[in-house]
Structures are given as structure tokens and as C-alpha cells.
């Protein structure tokens, strides 16, 4: 297991380096002078000169990249043009709300998707199966911001029982936190639920055909034990894999949902920074998200080797 972990982590290094090159190049693609883009129009001549030297802008591109990477690796993401604050603490502040939202969305999606998928699979080709499958396809086709807007219309405007936007830290007022969390979590959870449900259904269908399930039935075990212990137990690997991948994509969906509901996480921070042309913040937020995304993929791999030890050998 330790050897597998080391190998798997080592394989991340070229990808992370590649990702950092992409983010570096993107900041260089911005039309105009990158120093002005990073410092803002009102920067003093000294500040401009200092950044030019630190980023080695008179040197060739590869050296510029190394200089940039050096400052990123020491945790120096620069300062926000807009607020003058350091970017790193801004990222860590926005991190927690995004984590809450993602976890809540995952919980919502699992609570809907797993039972629905199992029902669809065990009643294959019945009206229940078709309805669940069609609803899932609708969920996949739903643009999340529209769902968000519809939920706001329904629960904040027509029947005003939930707040339409904003965030309360869970430590300050836990009930208020939950009330603000409901609509964004539903919005973000729906798309995820659709994908997980489809995967649950198709994996369960395969597993229900397996010999050990027939054996379990032949032993006279109760239907519930057969389905949940024997079949679902073995259907977990593809579901966990998909969940890992989807959870990463969730980080993208978070951008839209947080913007709709003014949820002060990484996504909203990114969008606000894009509009303010606050490039140091954009750069830091994109790097952080890509790093998280890659880590999540690693975690998925590790998790399913824990569930299925056979995978460690290959």
C-alpha cells in the first residue's frame, strides 16, 4: 500500500507542474503588460520595478516561469489589486464555505441518488425504472443556475421561507447557517444526484446478474439483505470512482452556484476577481482549485484501492 501511494503521488508531480505552466501562461495571455495587470493601474514606479525584477521579466520565459513558481511555492500569491490584501489568506477564508457547500451538496445527492438508483435497478424495465431514469436525465440537463433561480423564486419570493442569498458562519448561528445552505446545496446536489443515480443503476444491474447474488438468493436470504449487502456492497467501487470525479467537477459547478446565491466561497471569489480584473486573486484561486481537483482524484484512487484490494496489484 505504501509503495502504491508513493507511486501514485509521484505521478501527480508532472501534472501539477503542467497545471502551473497553464496558469502561468494564462496570466501572460492577458493583453497588455502583466506587471500592470498584477499591480493595477495606480501602481507606483518603484512597485512596478520591484515586481519586474522579482518576476525576472527581462529574462526569457522559462526563467520567468521558475521565478513565478518560486514565489508561489513559498506561499506568496501576491496581493489583491482591489483590496491590497494578501491573496493567500483570502483563499483560506473562502475555502471553508466552499467545503460546507460541497459536502452538503454531496450529502443531498447521495440521499436522492442511491435509493433511486437501487430502486430503478431492482425494478428494471418497469414504470418506476423509466420514470427515475428520465428524471435523472432531466436533472443532468438542468443548467444549475436556472434551478437556483427557480428555487429562489419558489422559496424566497413566492413562499418566503428561506433566504435567497448570503452566508452565516456555522459557529455564529448554526440554524441561520443551515437556512442559508439549503437552496445552494439543493441546486448543486441535483446535477450530482443525476450522475450518481445513473451510475448506481447501471452498476447494480451488472451486479444483480452475478453468481454470488444468485447464490445469496438461493440461500433464502431476505431480499433486503441480498440487495444492500451482497449487491450494493459490490457496486460501490464504480460509484465511489464516479463520485470522486464528479466531486471534482462540483468544484467547477460551485463557481456558478456560489455566484447565484452570493455564497462567499472560492467560486464567488474567482468570479468577483475576474470582473475586478484582480488577476493575482484569479491566479491564486484557479491554482488552488486545480490543486484540490488533482488531490481529490488521488483520494478517489486511494479510496477505491481500500475498498477493493485487488486494484493495488495492477
Amino acid at each position: 500500500m505504501a509503495g502504491f501511494l508513493v507511486l501514485r503521488i509521484a505521478s501527480l508531480i508532472p501534472i501539477l507542474i503542467g497545471a502551473s505552466v497553464v496558469v502561468f501562461l494564462l496570466t501572460r495571455l492577458i493583453p497588455g503588460d502583466p506587471v500592470l495587470a498584477l499591480l493595477g493601474m495606480e501602481a507606483t514606479d518603484e512597485a512596478i520595478e520591484a515586481l519586474r525584477i522579482r518576476f525576472a521579466l527581462d529574462q526569457p520565459m522559462p526563467i520567468q516561469y521558475l521565478a513565478w513558481l518560486g514565489s508561489i511555492l513559498t506561499g506568496d500569491f501576491g496581493r489583491s489589486i482591489q483590496s491590497g490584501r494578501e491573496v493567500f489568506p483570502m483563499l483560506t477564508e473562502a475555502f471553508l464555505p466552499t467545503v460546507w457547500l460541497s459536502l452538503a451538496a454531496t450529502a443531498v445527492s447521495l440521499a436522492i441518488a442511491i435509493p433511486a438508483g437501487v430502486i430503478a435497478a431492482t425494478r428494471r424495465d418497469t414504470a418506476a425504472d423509466y420514470s427515475v431514469s428520465f428524471i435523472a436525465l432531466c436533472g443532468l440537463s438542468m443548467p444549475s443556475f436556472w434551478l437556483g433561480v427557480l428555487l429562489i423564486l419558489a422559496f424566497s419570493i413566492h413562499v418566503p421561507i428561506l433566504p435567497a442569498s448570503g452566508y452565516v458562519p456555522p459557529g455564529d448561528d448554526f440554524l441561520g447557517f443551515l437556512r442559508h445552505l439549503v437552496l445552494p446545496a439543493l441546486t448543486l446536489g441535483t446535477a450530482l444526484a443525476a450522475a450518481v443515480m445513473r451510475m448506481t443503476r447501471s452498476t447494480m444491474l451488472e451486479v444483480l446478474d452475478a453468481d454470488y447474488v444468485r447464490t445469496a438468493r438461493a440461500k433464502g436470504l431476505r431480499q433486503r439483505t441480498v440487495i444492500w449487502r451482497h449487491a450494493f456492497g459490490n457496486a460501490q467501487i464504480p460509484i465511489v470512482t464516479l463520485l470522486g470525479i464528479q466531486f471534482g467537477q462540483l468544484l467547477g459547478g460551485v463557481v456558478i452556484t456560489e455566484t447565484v446565491f452570493s455564497w462567499p466561497g472560492i467560486g464567488k471569489l474567482t468570479v468577483d476577481a475576474i470582473f475586478a480584473r484582480d488577476y493575482p486573486v484569479v491566479q491564486g484561486a484557479v491554482l488552488l482549485t486545480a490543486g484540490l481537483f488533482v488531490l481529490l482524484n488521488l483520494l478517489t484512487d486511494v479510496l477505491y484501492t481500500l475498498i477493493d484490494p485487488r486494484l493495488r496489484l495492477s
Binding site: A19, L137, W146, V149, L150, I152, V255, V282
Partner: protein
């Protein structure tokens, strides 16, 4: 029963996609209004006989803008998916056929694109290049590239070792000829299925970008920027939020249904 239902799904998908295509092609003939023409006597008026879906904050007819919005969505979907499919298929086929370091270099590059959540990367690309329709197409094409490349590579690995490819090689045909004439035609089916599903994704991503103000710029009507515009008027003019979102939903559902039906039809395991 399943086949019948699959047919019905495919038919529904084709109908919904057809509806969007019809709106895009014939928008000017379907409505007496111009998409960008303000009417300050009819600001934020609800659905009525004159304005079936109501008007927006500048008095522009929402039905007209929804119809014209189909143009942007389908154009972005088609151009981004087509270019990404062609380039991705070539990269993947070359990687799979050549193997060794060519394979390693191409696929590691694709892995790097995969290191970002796709919406976020599209966002970052359009933010860096500047918001415009062209850059939105480019960004969506780039984020889809690795999907097509991986499928093409996997298929090429299978096709490469088949007898008829071996035979062509033995006859002295060069790699370019074999790739274009023999490998590519044999790997297209799964690429097209994926293309249909990614067309749906592309429409959603485009709407996200224009929702955030990073797609086609106003006054061009896009479903995304119409929804964005509606947020400020949710309590005054809820109809502004209904139909642009519905249009996205319906056309995306159409492409998803078509893609699913195609996949079922082409997947031999289902027969």
C-alpha cells in the same frame, strides 16, 4: 419494449433538438420584433397577446430574444464540439498509433487539461483572452479536447492490432495513409456518441460563461446573459427567468436524449 422506448427517447431528442434548430434558423420570420430593439413603452410587461413571453427591463420582447438566443447556443455548441472532436481524434489516433514518447507527450498534455474542473478552465481561458463569442468557443473546445483524445486513443489501440490494419502495413502503406484511411473511419462511432453528449455540455457551459458575462457580449441575446439579466428583476418580472432557462434545459435535454439513444444503439452489449 426497451427498443421501442429507446426509439421514443431518440424521437423526443430529435424533436427537441429540431425545435432549437428551427428557432435558430427562422428566428427573423417567427417574430415581428427585433431582438435588440428596445421599447420604452413596454418595460417589464408580463406575458400578453403582443408579447407572449413578456418583455425585459428595456422593453425587448422575450420570445424574440429566446428564439435568437438559440443561434448563439447552437453555433457555440457546434463549432466547439466539431473542432474539438476533429483535433482530439487526430491527437488521440496519432498517440495510440505511434505509441512510445509521442503517446506519452500527447497524453500527458491532455492530463494537464484534465487537471482543471472544466467549467473553471473555460472561465479562466475566457477571462485571460477577453470575453467574446470566439473565445468562448475556443475555451469550450479546449476543455473537451482530452475527452475526445482519450476515446480516440483507446479505440486506435484496439484497431491497430486488427488484421486489416496489419495487412495494409505489410503491403507497405505509410502511417499517414493508414491513420486517415483505415484507423479514423473505424473509430468514429464512439466519438460521435460522445460528441452528442458534449454538445449538451457545451450549451450549458456557454450559458454559464455568458451568465457570468464572459460569452457573447450584449446586446447579443444569449440564454445565459438573459438569465443573468433576470436576476435583478426576480420579484418584479419572474417571467424573465423562466423561458431562457427553459430553452437551455429543453435543448440540452434533446442532445442528451439523442446521445443516450445513439450510445445504446451503437453499444453491442445491449443487443
Amino acid at each position: 419494449m426497451r427498443a421501442l422506448l429507446a426509439n421514443r427517447r431518440a424521437a423526443l431528442g430529435a424533436l427537441l433538438v429540431g425545435l432549437a434548430a428551427f428557432a435558430a434558423l427562422f428566428a427573423p420570420f417567427l417574430t415581428p420584433f427585433g431582438p435588440d430593439k428596445p421599447d420604452f413603452t413596454a418595460i417589464l410587461s408580463g406575458p400578453s397577446a403582443t408579447h407572449l413571453l413578456g418583455t425585459d427591463d428595456l422593453g425587448r420582447d422575450m420570445l424574440t430574444r429566446t428564439l435568437y438566443g438559440a443561434r448563439v447556443s447552437l453555433l457555440v455548441g457546434f463549432l466547439s464540439v466539431a473542432s474539438s472532436l476533429v483535433i482530439g481524434a487526430m491527437l488521440g489516433a496519432v498517440a495510440g498509433y505511434a505509441g512510445r514518447w509521442t503517446d506519452a507527450v500527447i497524453m500527458r498534455l491532455m492530463d494537464v487539461i484534465f487537471a482543471f474542473p472544466s467549467v473553471l478552465l473555460a472561465l479562466a481561458i475566457t477571462a485571460a483572452l477577453g470575453p467574446s463569442l470566439t473565445n468562448a468557443i475556443l475555451a469550450i473546445a479546449v476543455v473537451n479536447l482530452p475527452v475526445f483524445a482519450r476515446i480516440a486513443r483507446a479505440q486506435t489501440l484496439v484497431v491497430r492490432s486488427l488484421d486489416f490494419v496489419e495487412a495494409k502495413r505489410a503491403l507497405g502503406f505509410g502511417p499517414v495513409n493508414i491513420l486517415l484511411r483505415t484507423v479514423l473511419p473505424n473509430i468514429t462511432a464512439p466519438l460521435i456518441v460522445q460528441g452528442s453528449l458534449l454538445f449538451a455540455m457545451a450549451i450549458i457551459t456557454e450559458s454559464y460563461l455568458s451568465f457570468l458575462g464572459l460569452g457573447a457580449q450584449p446586446p447579443t441575446a444569449t440564454w445565459g446573459n438573459m438569465l443573468r439579466n433576470s436576476i435583478a428583476f426576480l420579484d418584479l418580472a419572474p417571467w424573465m427567468a423562466w423561458f431562457s432557462g427553459l430553452a437551455i434545459f429543453v435543448s440540452v435535454l434533446g442532445f442528451n436524449l439523442l446521445g443516450d439513444a445513439l450510445r445504446d444503439a451503437l453499444d453491442p452489449r445491449n443487443n
